[in-house]
Symmetry: C2
Subunit: 226 residues, 2 copies
Amino acid sequence: MAEKIALIGGTGPQGKGLALRLAQAGFDILVGSRSAERAREKAAEMNARIGGGSIAGSGNADVVAEAEFVLLTVPFENAATTLEGLRGQFRKGQVFVDVTVPLSFDKGQVNPAAPPEGSGSLQLRKILPPDIPFTGAFKTLPAHLLEEIETPLECDTFVYGDDKEARQRVSSMIRKVPGLRPIDVGGLSAAAIIEGMTALAIRINRRYKSREARFRILGIDPWPQK
Amino acid sequence: MAEKIALIGGTGPQGKGLALRLAQAGFDILVGSRSAERAREKAAEMNARIGGGSIAGSGNADVVAEAEFVLLTVPFENAATTLEGLRGQFRKGQVFVDVTVPLSFDKGQVNPAAPPEGSGSLQLRKILPPDIPFTGAFKTLPAHLLEEIETPLECDTFVYGDDKEARQRVSSMIRKVPGLRPIDVGGLSAAAIIEGMTALAIRINRRYKSREARFRILGIDPWPQK
């Protein structure tokens, strides 16, 4: 049986792109939304898009309860409130993956807008039940490109979290997505760096008139990693 | 006549690698050190290494006074004090390039260790005379690889600063180094992000047993940029 991945707020641009790519990689996808009806509609559209049937939609609380991996893909402004409302739904054995990024758009310069904890992830870690391992991943991938499923990603994504086994599980999951390589960057203190790199990618997009700026690490294993 | 590039603290690993690569790119290099004698010795060694004569050594104050570009390549711990001692040597028309990065190595996790200003560059900007444009570049390049001049870099380096013309001048300088592409990431507020990426590269090096982790941006102009 395929592993299940839930996407809280999976009807937004980032969630949709990830749902499509992860479904194509062979996972069962549970797209969550505040409105179960909207989630079902979007799931049907996504299945049609990839000619499959492995994407289902439901309310956020329902999808969290059922999945091995739970990805948070709401806008950061709603992240804390959304997670607070769902914290009772998690169960031991699941891995949480934060995909949200706090950003500010002041004076034409995009910057990370970390809460007092130092990063978005450090704030959300306080809300998630302590026995659920907290990881961050997919943060620097352009939503626009994720949705363009005909275009290979051919880039890296950075995985962090204090629980090593959880990082390994998330990395294995990512490795199944063609053209995407996980880079394990260690503990949760990396979150501020990675969230900064999301801001950097947007800066680069604006300056170079692209929507697809993303990262590749050179100097480690040959690419792609097996 | 070739443009002159001064490297304050250019006898350290980062400075040496940059001196070699920039000399090979056709610039006249002035390697500075607290000891003029040490600088001259190191300059002679570097000239021998590349079979050239365009690298000269002298005291830090002397090299600053003479160059179009002034790169600060001391360890961050000495950056503020060194720059304070040299601020009287700058003259209008020069461009300052900060290459230093504040890092902490706590509990086996490398992280940026920004001063209260928010980044190393923001602290140093307060020390440099206000009429000298302040930029940052070369921060994420591995010192080890810079010195291995037989190996092409084949990566990007991020250029920031509030003065657009200065960023362009630094980018043009970088473009002359084979295999190195400048990415203009806008204003000085990017410094914290880029300094974080230095920490990230070191994290990746440790985890993947490399000394050469570095960045390439995908999704903008084809590489290398002309």
